[in-house]
């Protein structure tokens, strides 16, 4: 099952936090530190992009004619 947007965001954020932690620790050789910095910058960019482009996905679970439960779109603007 592919990762959801939220799962991608969480793993990117976790990795970014780990990178910052390692860079702040100062024990990484400079060459590797530069690689980590590049990776971190890319992760931060991807996290920001995920937030920019995201729209809340909403579904309603209803019982279909055959008795199974299905996901149907839910119109959140409908105040009825």
């Amino acid at each position: 099952m592919p990762k959801t947007k939220s799962q991608t965001f969480e793993s990117n954020m976790t990795r970014l936090e780990e990178i910052v932690h390692r860079l702040e620790d100062g024990s990484v050789p400079l060459e590797e530190a530069m690689k980590l910095f590049q990776e971190g910058t890319a992760l931060a960019g991807s996290c920001g992009k995920l937030l920019d482009e995201a729209e809340l996905e909403i579904v309603k679970l209803t019982k279909g004619p055959d008795g199974t439960i299905q996901e149907v779109p839910f119109d959140r603007e409908d105040p009825s």
């Binding site: 959801t4 970014l16 100062g26 996290c47 809340l56 309603k60 679970l61 839910f74 105040p79 009825s80």
Partner: protein, 410 residues
Amino acid sequence: MSSEQQIFTVTQLNNLIKAAFDNVPALQNLCVRGEISNYKLYPSGHHYFTLKDAEGSLRCVMFKGNAASLRFKPENGMSVLALGRVSVFPRDGAYQLYCTRLIPDGAGDLQMAFDQLKQKLFAEGLFDQAHKKTLPTYPHRIGVVTSPAGAAVHDMLRILGKRYPLSKVLLLPVRVQGETAAGEIARAIEYANREALCDLLIVGRGGGSLEDLWAFNEEPVARAIYASEIPVISAVGHEPDVTISDFTADLRAATPSNAAELAVPDQTELRGRLAALQKAMTAALRRQAQLARSHLDALLACPALKDPQSLIRDRRQSLDITLNELITGQTKLVHAQRNRLTSLAASLDAMSPLKVLARGYATAADEEGGLVTSAASARLRERLVITFHDGTIRTTVEGESYAKNQVPDL
């Protein structure tokens, strides 16, 4: 006893009295205040008890059909208002109250039911803090158990979308008030768990009267929330409304909107965090680059890198010295050996047979080179080689003459 006097059977009398009671309108629909004693619930589902006050007592019965509406559990010593009619039970010849409704005196029956369930579930440990689950930091799928109509669901969706639009919301539509509400809510929670539908559940509804919110005070809902493997936020009514569900949930939200706020991180804060992480990353790398730079500077300042030739010069100089020492040592050794050789040669020379020959001696040898060291061993006509200090001559033995003291040993 007068002949006109009517004789009743017991049954006839009891029925007469019953008819008399039943004709009094005031006895048909009344309310009586008292304290419950001798309370007994029969397997038939009928409730029997006595109402007492300081001076008297009244037998009461509440039939199963009427008892179904009881929200709370009657207990001895409880002060109640009992509604119903008074009539006679002919079998016992006793009048009693046929109770249709029982209300706790003072607090309402809902409040009484609330307190009783709260106490019961508390005693069972359903409110234990140790049982509360941690909510996910980034909920990926949020199940919302509420009414699809009404403002509450739209408030929640608006706030969820504004704060963290990355999650997916699964709306589990249920009735949130009325007879079937509690069952529907409990089943929706159980369904979400059975299907592992989401990683967070919000269960609730908007504001209303105590009766409207009642489903969230019912045992099946409270237990379904407690049993949920998925963390549950309860979100019922307005700020002051507290329900049993709030106590068994992992987190109580004051309102549905508040639940949406508690459920997800705020993207404004997330963006701030991202910026802070980037800043920290840049600062850390810059610090490390500066450290590397000052390390490099320190290295460049050391003589080896500052004047690399000096190392070679130093080494060359010590090589020269060593080489010189080697040559000197070698010369000394050769001299010593030469001196030793000279002295050995001199000794050897002193002992040389040539020196003896030089003094005028000669040696004689046969043709095979064997030395002839006595006259006796030389045979006539034998060829001999005579060696002088300056060379050899060949000769032949011509005669023999022995020294007197050298008689041949024949």
